[in-house]
Amino acid sequence: MFSNFDWDVIARSLPYLFLDGMTFTLMLTALATAGGVVIGTLIAMMRLGGLPVLPWMAAGYVNVIRSLPLVLVIFWFYFLVPYIGQWVTGASRPVQVGAFTSSLVTFTLFEAAYFAEIMRAGIQSIPNGQVAAGYALGLTYWQVMANVVLPQAFRNMIPVLLTQTIILFQDTSLVYVLSITDFLGAASKVAQRDGRLVEMYLFAAAVYFVMSFAASSLVRRLQARIAIVR
C-alpha cells in the first residue's frame, strides 16, 4: 500500500519543517504560555479580590472567550486589530500588524482565559489560614500573594498548566488560516508543492503525537517530584 509513497520528501524538507515551521510553533507556544499565565493570574486575582466591578469584568472576559471557537477569534483579531490600532493611534489608515503579532496577541488573550480558571482554582486551593499567617507577619496583600499564595498555587497547578500548554501546542496549528508557516503550515506547503499530501500529513501527525505524548509523560513524572510535603 505504501509502495508508491515517496518518503524521501520528508528527508528533503526536514530543515524547512523544523527550522522554520517547528521553531515558529514552539516560539508561539512559549510566548503565548508566558503571556497567558501572567495575564491569566492577574485575571484570577481580579476575580477573587474583594474589589467592586473587577470580579464581574474578569468573569465576563473569561466566559466570553471560552464560549468562542479559537479559529473565529484568530480570524477576528487578524482583521480587527489593524482597525483597533488605527483607533488607538489616530492614524489615517489601519495599522498593519502582521500575521505573527496578530496570532501572538490572539493566543495570549485566549489562553489567558483558560489559565485564569486554572489559577483561580490554584489560589482557592490555598487555605485561608495561610493568608492570615502572612498578614499576621505584617505582609501586605501583594506580598502575601507573591510570597505565600502564588508560589503554592503554581506548585499545585503546574501539572494542569503544563497540560494546557500541550493543548496550546496543538492548537497553534490553527494559524494555518492566516497562511503562517508554523510546523503544520510548512508541512502543508511542501505537501502541495510536491503533491505528497498523504506522506506529509502522516508525518506531521506523527511528530505532533510524539512530542505531545513525550511532554505528557514528563508532566506525570514531574507531578510526583514537585508535590509539596504537607
Partner: protein
C-alpha cells in the same frame, strides 16, 4: 498595651462578640478560655485586625486597630501571632519561614535575618531542623517553629490562638514549655487556651467568655479560687474534672 473597649461584632444577623471590654498591660499574661463558639478566637483576632469588628475600639500600644487610617501591616508586624494549625508556609524551609517577615517587612539583610533565625531556632530547640520543610516536622516541632517565626519580628506582644489544641497529647508540653519561658521573660501575652495548668503557672489574669460575652475577667487566684459566675464554675468543673 492592648485595650479592648466595648467591641461588638456581627456575622450578618448573628452577634459573635457582645460589648467586650478588657485590657492587657505590658508584661502581663492573660489567658482567655471558654466553650467553643464563645468568640474567644474572634476576639483575639480583632487585636491584630485579622477580624474586622463593627463597634467599639481596640488599641495596641496606643494605635487604633479599627481606624481606617491605621496601616495594619505595620501594626501587625509588631504583634506576633501563633495559630491553632501552625500555618507555617509549606513551600519554604524552616529557616526561610523565619526569614520571610524579617526581610520583606522589617527590611533586614539576609545575614541579620539568618542570625536571628538561628538564635531563635536554638532557643526553641530546633537548630537541627533549619533546612527541613515544615511537612517533615511533627506538630509540636511545627508549632515551636511558628512561635520562633513570630518572635523573629521582635514583637511587643504575642497572641496565641489555641496553640496546643491541634497537637497530640504528648507534644503539648514541649510547646507549653516554650510559652512558659516566654511569659517568665516578661513578654506581654494574650493566650486563648484550655490548658488550665498553663494558666495556673504563668497567667496574671483569666478571662472567661461565653456566647460572645466576657463573663468573668479576674486575677488568676480569684478565678480559680471562686469564680463568681455560674457558667464559669460549670466550665471549670468540666475541664478540670479529667
Amino acid at each position: 498595651m492592648i485595650e479592648i473597649s466595648r467591641v461588638s461584632k456581627w456575622y450578618a444577623e448573628f452577634q459573635v462578640l457582645k460589648d467586650c471590654t478588657t485590657c492587657v498591660s505590658k508584661g502581663d499574661v492573660v489567658v482567655v478560655c471558654g466553650p467553643s463558639g464563645s468568640g474567644k478566637s474572634t476576639l483575639i483576632k480583632c487585636v491584630n485586625g485579622l477580624e474586622p469588628f463593627q463597634k467599639g475600639e481596640v488599641t495596641v500600644d496606643g494605635v487604633s486597630v479599627g481606624d481606617p487610617k491605621t496601616k495594619l501591616p505595620k501594626l501587625r508586624a509588631r504583634v506576633g501571632m501563633v495559630f491553632q494549625h501552625f500555618e507555617l508556609f509549606p513551600h519554604l524551609r524552616v529557616v526561610e519561614n523565619l526569614r520571610l517577615g524579617q526581610e520583606k517587612v522589617l527590611g533586614r539583610s539576609r545575614e541579620e535575618a539568618d542570625a536571628k533565625a538561628t538564635a531563635l531556632l536554638e532557643r526553641v530547640g530546633l537548630t537541627a531542623h533549619a533546612r527541613k520543610y515544615p511537612g517533615e516536622l511533627s506538630g509540636g516541632q511545627q508549632q515551636r517553629v511558628a512561635i520562633a517565626r513570630a518572635l523573629a519580628m521582635d514583637p511587643i506582644c504575642m497572641l496565641f490562638d489555641e496553640p496546643t489544641s491541634a497537637l497530640d497529647p504528648e507534644m503539648i508540653s514541649e510547646v507549653l514549655d516554650v510559652m512558659v519561658d516566654l511569659a517568665q521573660e516578661g513578654m506581654t501575652m494574650m493566650v486563648v487556651t484550655h490548658e488550665m495548668g498553663f494558666a495556673r503557672k504563668v497567667a496574671d489574669r483569666v478571662i472567661f467568655m461565653d456566647r460572645g460575652e466576657i463573663v468573668e475577667d479576674a486575677a488568676k487566684d480569684d478565678f480559680f479560687g471562686q469564680p463568681r459566675s455560674e457558667r464559669a464554675q460549670q466550665f471549670l468543673s468540666k475541664i478540670l474534672a479529667h
